[in-house]
């Protein structure tokens, strides 16, 4: 059943994937990617036994992946590992990871990114006890170094450092400066949403040309060859993301929708095949 299982984390959150694979006592590796980030989670006979992502390993990796709002997963059966970095039952791991995700969201409300610069406050109202681990980051507060810089200097996990700064801010010792304004040039990885042009005013511009129903048939059929039964769901997600409906979908946005669906296909060869087929179709329909 799980042979070649792939999909989108937006559709299949990590806890669902782990519950499914562990309940069917699968053995193998789940490869998870979100842009430049990658994590591998190994399962064996109904349990998660090892997780790794960059320099991180063990249960924290599960929590990290659960913060990814998008990305893809791919399960490769029968990939063994001799490493064991996760020893607790899956339910406990997921429960703690969910709590960690909640905590991270709370901290991210205050510290939006590693570019934030922590600064010592001028005065404090009450006596404060500082933990040794917190002191190690406090020593870098010179009003210039960002949290990312401190992480680099300490060679420690960025999230641990961020959490320590958050603790210091709740103690009233540290405040944060907003990062510099974003540069004019947008360098974010493009998404269909970001690249969607602004909707024209109702009274201005030429009338909107709607795509034919055949477009969605072709799109779904080609996507299904790479994405399987999730294809229609992913197409609908793309339509939602572009703030439209199948019935009123503008022809000028067709390529953006194709690009969105292509972005969900992790395998290079399958993605290229899909892109070629759809670009050819779009050209012929133009």
């Amino acid at each position: 059943m799980a042979e070649g299982l792939t999909g989108s984390l937006a559709q299949w959150p990590l806890p669902d994937i782990l519950n499914l694979l562990c309940s069917s006592r699968q053995v193998g590796r789940i490869e998870l990617t979100d842009g430049p980030h990658r994590a591998d989670v190994y399962i064996r006979e109904g349990a998660v036994v090892h997780a790794t992502s960059g320099t991180q390993s063990g249960e924290p990796v599960i929590a990290t992946v659960m913060t990814w709002a998008k990305g893809t997963f791919s399960f490769e059966p029968r990939v063994p590992t001799s490493q064991v970095t996760v020893i607790r039952p899956l339910a406990d791991v997921l429960q703690d990871a969910a709590a960690e995700v909640t905590e991270r969201a709370k901290i991210r409300d205050t510290i939006a990114s590693a570019h934030i610069v922590p600064r010592l406050v001028a005065t404090i109202a009450n006596a404060v006890t500082i933990q040794p681990a917190d002191w190690s980051v406090l020593a870098f507060c010179d009003g210039r170094a960002s949290i990312g810089d401190v992480t680099d200097a300490l060679h420690e996990d960025e999230w641990d450092v961020t959490r320590r700064f958050y603790r210091l801010s709740t103690s009233g010792l540290v405040e944060f400066e907003e990062p510099l304004a974003r540069p004019v040039l947008q360098f974010a990885p493009p998404t269909a949403q970001q690249s969607a042009p602004a909707a024209p005013a109702a009274s201005a511009g030429p009338p909107k040309v709607i795509v034919s129903p055949q477009f969605f048939k072709e799109l779904t059929a080609h996507a299904a060859q790479a994405l399987g039964p999730l294809a229609p769901v992913i197409v609908d997600d793309g339509v939602d993301l572009l703030k439209s409906t199948r019935e009123s979908f503008a022809k000028e946005k067709a390529s953006q929708l194709v690009e969105f669906v292509a972005g969900e296909i992790a395998d290079d060869a399958q993605r290229v095949k899909f892109q070629q087929a759809m670009l050819q179709w779009l050209r012929s329909a133009a």
Binding site: R144, G148, L185, F187, S195, D268
Partner: protein, 147 residues
């Protein structure tokens, strides 16, 4: 590579495309060249610095889109080199991105192209982030970013 660049240039509102290494040396250009060789080199060096700076500031990207008043530049990282596409602001960026994506996947599998590009890997991109490789404004801005 030349034929692939011509295919990219066949897209509506695309003016030209070229590949330069990290040092700004031209590897290949669509024909006729969209710009003077020296201009292509300058643009690619600036683009390589930008990619390196993004990487250094912990926001690595493998592509960039620069929008100006009358034209647009699309840059895609190839590792030791970059592909740059000069286009009109009205270009269909999604189609362009996908077309370049397909081209790059094909290039990655082509040993001859990989050899051609790897010969150029004599300058690491991060080495561009030095005072010697930047003008005063760029260097000052880079330092302000805390890099």
């Amino acid at each position: 590579m030349e034929r692939d660049l011509q295919q990219i240039c066949a897209l509506e509102n695309v003016g030209g495309a070229f590949v330069c290494d990290n040092a700004g040396e031209l590897v290949v250009s669509s024909s006729p060249p969209v710009l003077a060789t020296i201009a292509m080199g300058e643009m690619s060096r600036a683009a390589a610095q930008t990619l390196a700076a993004m990487d250094r500031s912990r926001k690595p990207v493998d592509r960039g889109e620069f929008t100006y008043d009358t034209w647009r530049l699309f840059v895609r990282d190839l590792g030791p080199a970059m592909i740059l596409v000069v286009c009109h602001p009205n270009v269909d960026m999604a189609t362009l991105r996908m077309t370049v994506d397909m081209t790059i996947v094909r290039w990655r599998k082509d040993n001859n192209i990989q050899k051609r590009l790897s010969k150029r890997a004599n300058l690491a991109r991060k080495d561009l982030l030095t005072e010697a490789h930047m003008d005063d404004v760029a260097w000052h801005s880079y330092q302000l970013l805390g890099a």
